[in-house]
Every structure is written in structure tokens, then in C-alpha cells.
């Protein structure tokens, strides 16, 4: 098969049509800032929409990815809700002071003005890189699901205990998170992104069972409603969940996203490998992406990255063939974001993409 464009390749995978090779996308987001003006700090990148967008544009030039997905960090919403976010120069920002110190505090959340704060930076930056890249690759925004946004604001441990002892207070706060997400979905719809990637991290059997996840996120009033709104606003639904034991039946079979991004933890019993995901039918209707260990981008030589990607391509193609799928329904990706810190070897990102292109060919 002749070489397809990035967009045609991904569209083939999304529509169950044959493609020339497996799509390739190391989840390289913050690391791309190193190509802006000779390298900028995370703080600058996460506060300036032009710099934010420029990183994705430069990363595309250097590495030639199949997607552009705009993950900034997981403290954008919590920060705009009032939590204190620690901004190190070169580390991923994180919440270091939560804002729920009593059950009453769940009542105090209000949807912030999304035209201000880092929500606005995220939306404006997304529009800029989508405008620049929409004719080259499938573009997507990135957004925190309501339970993740609340856990980032309240602290996960506190939230989990309050789910058990004060569920009604948690639900009241989740309603606000969902309303905030609704505003953001409408904002993302105006950016021109083709898809919107939801981080539904807590759908994870290490943390929540089916009943708890259904009650606190996986139901119509939260995730299902937000997924429906995403589609109604003209975007495809993507989901990222880098936890060890994801709720695949809920998040893939029930939510039916166009794309699902996941990790693999070989040392954790039950963590689903790429082939088991394909064999389980999860790629029949959804383009699944994964599952290379992000550690390799820092700690491995480029040759090791090449070998790991080569092995994954072979595993995936064999499993797709056994499943009777001739569409490239698996994206060679990292299980989680490429570490954005300065120790990440950019030559390993190149090795990853190059190996995916070489060994991911469907007829090879």
C-alpha cells in the first residue's frame, strides 16, 4: 500500500478501513517546549498560549507525529478552582495545597471564568496549534474528567474517604466540576480540534470498583453526559487512562470512544497487555493506543527504544491478524506522557517514531 498522509491513516483506523501502517504517537507534549526559542521553562509554556501552541508546532516539525494532542498538565482546572499550584521551572506543575479541608468545603466550589486563568491559556493555545496543524494531523484538546478535577482540588485520599462517608457532599462538588467541564467542552469546540481527550484516571480497579466508578463518574450525569456533549459539539471522544488496571469494559465498551490511550504495567498482575486488549475485542470499534513505558525516553539507549517499538508492532499486528482486523486499529504510543523534564532524550522520541513507521507497516 502506498504511504498515506497522517490524517488519512488515522481516519482509516477510525473507520475500520485498511491503512498503510499503525499510527504512531508518543504522547509528547511538555517535552516539545524544548524546541521553542531554544528551550523555555514549563512555567512560561503553561502560561502563554502562543508558546504553548508553538511547542506542538515545533514538535511536529521535528518528529512528524500522527496526532497533535494538547496535554498541558493535570492541575489546570484545580488551579482555576482556587487550589495552589506549584510551578517548578522544568517539572510538571502540581497542586501542593488542596482546598477541601472539611465536608463543608465541597459546597464552596464555583465554576471559574474560563476566559481567565490557565483554562483560557489552554483553550487559546489549543486553537492556535489546531489552526496551524489541522491540515497535517488529527488534532485534539485534552481535558480532566470531573472526578480527576475534584481529586486534584480536594486531595485524592480525602475525596476517597468522603465518597464513603459523605457521598452527597461529593456529588454536589462533582456537579460543579461537570458544569465546569461543560463550559470547557463548549470552549474546545470553538478551537477547531477534531477530538477531545478526556482523562478519566480513576476508572481503575486499584482504586475503585465498578459500583463506585459508576456512581461517581461513569454515569449519565457525569462522564456519559460529557461524552455525548463532546460529540454534539462536533468533536470525537478520546479517553486517556494511564492507570494500572483500567475499567476497559466501562471506558471502551460502554463509553465507546473513538480513541483510547492506556498504559501497561507488566509487574502488576492483571494489567492488560496490547495483545490481550486486542484479543478482548477492545479494538474492534475503538482505536486503542499504548503501551510503551515512558521511562525508556529517559533511561534507555535509542537502540532499546527501537527494539521495544519493533516488538510491540509485531505483537500488535499478530494480534490484529488473529482477531481478523485488517485496519490499523492500534496506535503505537507511550502508556503515559513522555516525561517532560530536561533529562528526556529527544533522540529516543525520534527512535520511537522512526521505528513505528518502519515496523508498523501493515504488510511487513
Amino acid at each position: 500500500m502506498t504511504e498515506m498522509s497522517h490524517i488519512d491513516r488515522v481516519m482509516a483506523a477510525l473507520t475500520n478501513e485498511p491503512g498503510d501502517r499503525l499510527p504512531v504517537y508518543p504522547i509528547a507534549c511538555g517535552v516539545n517546549r524544548r524546541f521553542v526559542n531554544g528551550g523555555i521553562s514549563y512555567r512560561d509554556w503553561a502560561h502563554d498560549p502562543k508558546l504553548y501552541a508553538q511547542a506542538f508546532i515545533e514538535g511536529q516539525k521535528v518528529f512528524d507525529y500522527d496526532f497533535a494532542i494538547g496535554l498541558m498538565d493535570l492541575s489546570v482546572m484545580a488551579g482555576d478552582l482556587g487550589a495552589h499550584v506549584r510551578m517548578d521551572e522544568q517539572n510538571t506543575p502540581f497542586v501542593d495545597q488542596h482546598i477541601v479541608n472539611s465536608v463543608e468545603d465541597y459546597e464552596k466550589f464555583e465554576v471559574p471564568d474560563i476566559t481567565k486563568g490557565r483554562s483560557a491559556v489552554l483553550l487559546e493555545g489549543t486553537k492556535l496549534y489546531c489552526d496551524a496543524l489541522k491540515n497535517q494531523v488529527i488534532t485534539s484538546g485534552f481535558i480532566e474528567g470531573p472526578l480527576l478535577a475534584l481529586s486534584q482540588s480536594a486531595g485524592a485520599e480525602r475525596l476517597f474517604m468522603d465518597m464513603f462517608t459523605n457521598p452527597s457532599a461529593v456529588h454536589r462538588a462533582l456537579k460543579v466540576m461537570t458544569d465546569y467541564d461543560i463550559e470547557m467542552v463548549k470552549g474546545f469546540a470553538k478551537t477547531g480540534c477534531a477530538g477531545l481527550c478526556w482523562d478519566y484516571l480513576w476508572g481503575n480497579y486499584s482504586c475503585l470498583g465498578d459500583a463506585e466508578y459508576e456512581e461517581f463518574e461513569g454515569c449519565k450525569k457525569y462522564a456519559i453526559g460529557l461524552n455525548e456533549l463532546t460529540i454534539k459539539e462536533g468533536m470525537a471522544v478520546a479517553i486517556h487512562n494511564c492507570a494500572d488496571l483500567p475499567h476497559l469494559d466501562t471506558q471502551i465498551k460502554k463509553f465507546a470512544p473513538a480513541i483510547y490511550s492506556m498504559a501497561y504495567y507488566p509487574l502488576i498482575p492483571g494489567s492488560p497487555s496490547a495483545s490481550s486488549v486486542i484479543e478482548g475485542g477492545y479494538t474492534d470499534k475503538t482505536l486503542v493506543g499504548g503501551q510503551v513505558d515512558p521511562q525508556l525516553f529517559i533511561r534507555a539507549p535509542a537502540e532499546k527504544v527501537t527494539q521495544v517499538v519493533k516488538d510491540l508492532c509485531q505483537e500488535v499486528k499478530t494480534a490484529l491478524c488473529k482477531r481478523g482486523l485488517n485496519s490499523p486499529k492500534y496506535c503505537i504510543a507511550s502508556g503515559c506522557e513522555v516525561p517532560p523534564d530536561t533529562h528526556t532524550k529527544t533522540e529516543n522520541i525520534k527512535a520511537f517514531v522512526d521505528a513505528g513507521k518502519q515496523y508498523g507497516k501493515m504488510n511487513a
Binding site: 522544568q90 502540581f94 497542586v95 485524592a156 485520599e157 476517597f160 464513603f164 475503585l208 515512558p294 521511562q295
Partner: protein, 212 residues
Amino acid sequence: MSKEEILNKLSEAVVAGKPNLAEEGAKEALAQKVDPLEAINAGLVKGMSIVGDKYAARQVYLPQVLMSAKTMYSGLDLLLPAIPKAAMADVKRCATAVVEGDVHDIGKNIVKTMLTAGGFVVIDMGKDVPIQKIVDDAKSEKLDALALSTLMTPTMDGMKAALDGLIESGYRKNVKVCIGGAPTSPEFAKEIGADHRDANAQECVAWLKEVF
């Protein structure tokens, strides 16, 4: 209330995640002159072990485990001060810490709970702990074991810095060091000179018990 009933009450309080019942049970144990160490081991710890097993079997999940842990500590707060110091002399001292730059501490807190339930004296250094503090406290607290955790890639190097610091301070030979957290691996543990990488809290406790 008989001793048996008190011990059952403590165990059941932990399983149900009811801190007020654990406090009641602990007060009754003290009032009835039940050996506080027995009240802990045959009551609170027994309950936490049941919860740990249920968590491993995915019969309960993190919200229930965290409430059970909180309940166990409610009872421990009352019972631990009643234990004669001599009875604690041979108990191994272990610290838990999430290394500097990382605030993800649920896993560390589960390890802390299971170590406590496993009979260790646990000093919890907390999250985002400066490396020098880890090194200094290991020596000043006369630790037998140190359990380090991180969930983030950029902060993994802090684990190596802590181990290097322990060597420099001359205390490394006195303390077993285990590491945990999703991005860590046995290979990484070996690379930085840690003694073990734990896949979960139960494995951490089992390994330390084997070592000691």
C-alpha cells in the same frame, strides 16, 4: 464486655471503617486492663489484615481501605501510649516517604498502614520530602528500614540521591531501603542501589518481615 468481645469489636470496627467504634473499643480495652499490644494485634491489626486481603482480592477498593486505615489509627492513638516502652524495644523502626517534588501519597499511606499492621513502628515523613531530611532522619530516628515512593518519572532521581546520601552519611549499612511507585522497577532498584522494589504494600511488608 469480655476480652473476646472487645477484640472482636476492634476488628469489626476496622473492617467496617468506623473510627468511633474503634475508639470505643480501645477505651473499653484499657478500662478492662486488656494488654494493649494484644488489643492492637488481635483486634485492630486482625481487622486491617482482613481488609488487606479483601483489597488484594478486589472485594473492596480504596475508599474502604482508607476508611479502615483511619479507623485503625483511631484505635492505635489510644492504645499505643499504653504499651510499656520495654515491650517496644525490639520492634523494628521503619519510615515512609514520598520523595521531593512529588505529592502523590496514597500508595505511601497504604504502605504505612500495612507496615503498622505488620508490627513495625512507622515514622511517616510525608510527601514532597527533601532528600537531606530523609538522610538526616534515617540516622537520627535510628531507622531499620526506609520505604521510598514516587509516582512521577522526574522525581525518581531523588531516590538515588537519598541512597547516595545514606552512603555518604555512613548510615546505609544500618538501614534496608525499599522503593515503590508505578514508574519504578526491580531494575531501577538495582541501578540505584536499593535493596528491593515492592509491587504493592503487602509485598513491602512481606519482604521486610523476611529480611528481619
